[in-house]
Symmetry: C2
Subunit: 433 residues, 2 copies
């Protein structure tokens, strides 16, 4: 088959079966967002490339779907946050903070293709703007847990790792980065790879004399040891005294206890997330079996609006992709049974009955029913088989006898019961308006 | 403001207000599709460029958002039909015809910017595959009329012009195109401009000796005269005897009468639609005031699957864009009042009450309510003003007195009435799982 006849590699077609699953998942995204008082927004999938490349060194820039058109450098969004920030900036005078906004953007990244990887995915984004307190992080993490519950992932199969870049930064500022604080951002980019490449390879990258971080070996070792911490108490006692990053984490864990989700979150000093704009708390949901990529990732990005030339505006958010959670549900056999539903199939035996059949279908549709109308001459056996295949509840049969009596025969496909109903619009008196 | 901080020209940001309107419109699209038994599908917004450029000479190709990435020529979809055909082709062995599929794709065209023009729009696509009879056209046109009714456009403000390319082709095959039938497709591209440029300019293009059609002047005049026909009887009597195209139109108008929409459709010999793949009935909805572009356009494209190398499979569909119908509704002051809705705002007076407030919000959300929780210390006056601004129905107030009594004060913002409710989770007994 010619290349043009296939969807580009790493992209998905959604046939009705796949679309019903997507709708099921999106409905849950929207319902959780509604319960948490979030309003939906959207932005164009194409933006000026510069919006996404304002900071170098991120993997995301190398993976951009970018192009030039009529002298403009454009790109498909790899993530929603820059567009969101642009929107907040454009109306910063009139928007009433705090904002609770969610979106369901499709995002594109040109990644190397391996099993289960896609180049596009839909991402449920939830963001709170204008709130500096970690109460915002707590709301977001609680919402993410609610989503996991709604799609019936067993409690315990997914946990959320939490860290605070500030705690790491404040710790390193007193030690290995005291003379070189500017290396913190590239250091985070390296650390973010730890799940993929392991601590030894991270140590190698951190201490590579030709790299951007270029730590002496003992300093690299200090960092990697720190990343191994999994107990917040240990981190607080070995970190700097009075670290605001540490205090935020303590408070956040207390709040999460108030939400009843203390058992679903863990401290993890190795979580930094890959994006350069994060400034504080960062978190990610992962499957405890350790088989998948992060299910959801987010954090605080208080400086992003300033980076774009706006006023300091605290913000925090997360993104949860449809592909990874779909894999998790499929692996656990938790995908719901979303079959097609049809209330009625209307079948005129021949052309003589077509006009009356149109009247029956129209009347049923006016009542709000989902109605298929057989559009050509067909054999009853085939029609009943189609009706069954399409999940129809009832078939409305209209033959010459029914038409002569001004009736339609209604068969319930589950019970097999039959009854007749009068034709609302007798043939010969079409509804002229 | 720097360019990167603006959405690309001709694209839209959807802030919550605009997004609620979009949702309102999409909900109507989906509801009509459901009632007509259509299943939703989707395809990637990026396809191989070749899928869209398989035929030259169409305006749509010049307006393509196309680009090259890692040696692949890609493009943003300007319309949905080619992707749809690709999907049908890929599963042609297993799909059970007829198919009733709908989609809500965003489509991109790089058009010259004038007032009200956009470079992207969302398009409600409804297509029936596998049905050769005009019963399929009738279902689709009835569905489009139902949509117009649902969004409350006054009957009569929008009509649907119907024509059949076959009738035109059969007429011209016996006259001006007898020696040159291959010029029919480019002729349609020219004719499609008649609304924009008028009959004189169309005549000029048709008879331009350097153009693709290059008719002698008297033949061009014959075509333009034909295009002026608005009565199907006239067309049938001046067209060829036994034209199958004419017979299809007669039957279609009869069927539309059975749907009760005979008053909403007119024959118009000038309608051909711009896309090269149409083969039979074509139609478009237009505002009778004549102020806007076509609201909806569609037709039969029985040969498209063969063009892509598949088996002959009859198909017919339409697209209805969100931008034009939005303009029509705005012009007529028919846009609905979609304000934010919030069931409850929960307000802890201070940090002491936060834990209990989280419990209240969580309990209300579990009941399915849309709940905003005040995330920081705020003054009551400001909170009440925010609640009002955000459309909240009730405010849950939690001060030290309420907490001491194990209660929360509930104020109904419409009636002003107040009552207290017990706190479900007394503070000190957080729900540990």
């Amino acid at each position: 088959m010619s290349q043009k006849l296939q969807a580009p590699r790493g992209t998905r077609d959604f046939y009705p079966d796949e679309m019903r699953l997507r709708r099921w998942l999106f409905d849950h995204f929207e319902e959780v967002a509604r319960r948490y008082g979030f309003e939906q927004i959207d932005a164009p999938i194409v933006e000026h490339e510069e919006l996404f490349t304002r900071k170098a060194g991120e993997e995301i820039v190398e993976q951009l779907y970018h192009f030039e058109l009529h002298d403009r450098r454009l790109a498909l969004r790899p993530e929603m946050t820059p567009s969101l920030a642009r929107m907040v900036l454009a109306r910063s005078g009139s928007l009433r903070m705090p904002l609770r906004w969610f979106s369901l953007p499709q995002c594109w990244r040109y990644e190397r293709m391996t099993r289960g990887r896609k180049r596009e995915h839909y991402q449920w984004n939830m963001d709170i703007w204008g709130e500096p307190d970690v109460t915002a992080e707590a709301e977001l993490i609680a919402a993410a847990c609610d989503l996991l519950d709604r799609v019936a992932i067993p409690r315990g199969d997914v946990k959320i790792r939490i860290n605070n870049r500030k705690l790491l930064e404040q710790t390193l500022a007193q030690s290995v980065l005291r003379e070189r604080p500017e290396r913190f951002a590239p250091l985070c980019v390296v650390i973010d790879k730890i799940d993929k490449i392991g601590p030894d390879a991270v140590l190698e990258l951190l201490t590579d004399p030709g790299g951007e971080v270029a730590l002496p070996p003992e300093d690299g070792r200090f960092v990697v040891d720190w990343l191994g911490l999994r107990d917040l108490g240990d981190a607080l006692s070995s970190g700097p005294a009075h670290s605001s990053g540490g205090a935020e984490l303590s408070r956040l864990f207390e709040l999460l206890d108030a939400y009843g989700i203390a058992d679903r979150v863990v401290f993890d000093a190795s979580v930094v997330r890959g994006l350069a704009y994060y400034t504080g708390v960062v978190f990610e949901a992962f499957d405890t079996a350790g088989e998948l990529r992060a299910i959801c990732g987010g954090g605080r990005y208080d400086n992003l609006l300033e980076t774009l030339g706006g006023r300091h505006t605290p913000a925090v958010g997360f993104g949860l992709g449809d592909v990874v959670i779909g894999e998790l549900l499929a692996d656990r056999n938790l995908l719901p049974d979303c079959t097609r539903e049809l209330d009625a199939l209307v079948f005129p035996f021949g052309e003589t009955e077509r006009r009356a059949a149109v009247g029956v279908a129209t009347a049923l549709r006016k009542q709000g029913l989902a109605v298929d109308l057989v559009l050509n001459e067909a054999r009853l056996k085939r029609v009943l088989s189609d009706a069954d295949h399409n999940g129809a509840r009832r078939v409305y049969l209209l033959g010459p006898d029914e038409l002569a009596r001004g009736e339609v025969l209604v068969r319930d496909l589950q019970s097999g019961e039959q009854h007749t109903e009068p034709l609302a619009e007798p043939d010969g008196e079409p509804p002229h308006n």
